[in-house]
């Protein structure tokens, strides 16, 4: 696993740190890791954007993949520490219909 992605799993909750890694093809690793957590019974997936400056289209696509996987697994997705501009983007694109922000 790449060192840029940090996953912390505590019981049914897992925290994923998106970083800038999210915005490249290699960001698919994040999605895979989330799916793995969901398969292992994770019911609350927290994606942390503290280290993420911007989110581009690839990033959006990968986040949609995470959301879709979580919905199929009946798990909740929470986006945390999202920059104001990114929140605007998420709202505009409708991602906020599917996740909770904190």
């Amino acid at each position: 696993m790449n060192t840029n992605i940090i996953i912390r799993a505590e019981g049914e909750k897992a925290v994923v740190y998106a970083s800038d890694y999210l915005n490249k093809l290699s960001g698919e690793t994040i999605e895979r890791e989330c799916r793995r957590q969901l398969d292992m019974g994770c019911k609350m997936l927290v994606v942390n954007f503290a280290e993420t400056e911007i989110v581009n289209s690839i990033g959006i696509s990968i986040l949609l993949g995470v959301i879709d996987a979580a919905q199929n697994a009946g798990a909740k997705v929470i986006f945390s520490d999202v920059k104001a501009e990114t929140i605007e983007l998420f709202e505009m694109l409708g991602l906020t219909n599917h996740v909770m922000l904190n």
């Binding site: 093809l25 698919e28 581009n56 289209s57 690839i58 990033g59 959006i60 696509s61 990968i62 949609l64 993949g65 959301i67 879709d68 501009e85 605007e88 983007l89 505009m92 694109l93 409708g94 991602l95 219909n97 599917h98």
Partner: protein, 418 residues
Amino acid sequence: MEKQKLIHTFGALAELGHEVAHKQNFQEMIRTSLHLLLGSLAIMRGGVARYSRFGHELNMLVIRGLGEEFPLTLSLCDEDERQFLTNGLAPIEVAQAKVLPFFQIYDRSFEKKRVELLVPLVIRNEIVGVILLGEKANGEPYSAYDLEIICAMSRHIGVGIAQRNLMAELERRAEENRKLYEDLRTTYKDTVKAFATAIDCKDKYTEGHSVRVGKYSEIIAEELGWDENEVEGAAVAGYLHDVGKLTVERNIINAPYRINAKESAELNKHPAVGYEILLPIHHPYADVPLAAKYHHERLDGRGYPDGLFDKEIPYIAKIVNLADSFDAMTTDRPYKRRRPANEIIEDLQRNSGKQFAPELVTAFFKGMLKELTGENKDKRFRRLLGRDYMETEGIIPMLKNALNGISPTSSLTLVSLD
């Protein structure tokens, strides 16, 4: 808000253009492209399929969010193709697509995964693929603006696939060409061998001469470390060196006595005639005609037809000369039986630097030695010279000695450098 949306979507469009133009790996290019397309408008799911003209089917290259049960191959019929071509590169809403024959088959899969749009990738009036798109994350229907964006991005992806198809086609043609070339070469080699046999037929006393000279030339070239192609060229030069004899009168060639001066002059035309014969033929190897023309030249200038000196003689001709002389020495002639191997080795050694290029004699001796010591298992000399001819006592030390004694360059070469 609108401004940010524009920045986001056009950022994706620009990146997609770059991706298609610069990515080396096709699979990665397609995966990235789908991410960019889905991400630009926040589309929940989708897939890119490539169209196989021969199989009349769409093969999914990448899918996202369509699940494991989604068919990876979708067959199209003529009517589907016609409809797609008429439609061109523009999104078709699933509600409208229901009339398409192929839709009847895959209707349920599409519905289950909420596929909302189909984009036939029609590039230059040819279907190269199809893009499938699911619902938007905000749950809204696709706007006219969205469709414009999808159209533009799909065109990029279509061009990427078309480029890839073109590359594959080029590679296939190159491969076909290579095979064709191989065939031509085989034909050429067969022709050369047929020619060699024809030449040898004319000379009943030296039956198999051309073929043997070809093989000896091949051995020398191999020992020189030439590559496969060059070795083959040397063999061909050997096979064809006496082609000019085809025009020399049969009774001169077959004379059971030493021929007189007039007859000799007639026979000595064969190198020049051979050159004339070979020159117009397009050979895959250079120098074949030159080998024929100069295979009777000697390093010391006492050969014919032009009395060339060392460096003036084409290298290939020197090889064939050595191979030719060796065969003449080691085969019985009507007026002379062949001499034992040790005498011939001495002969070659003595004439090294006079008639023969020393490094060629060295190469030839090395080839012999390798066979006698078993380093080379091919038994080529044995097959060409008969069972026991080379296996005379004392030959191995003799060859070793000779190899130590021959100076790497000829004295004539050194003189000509001054």
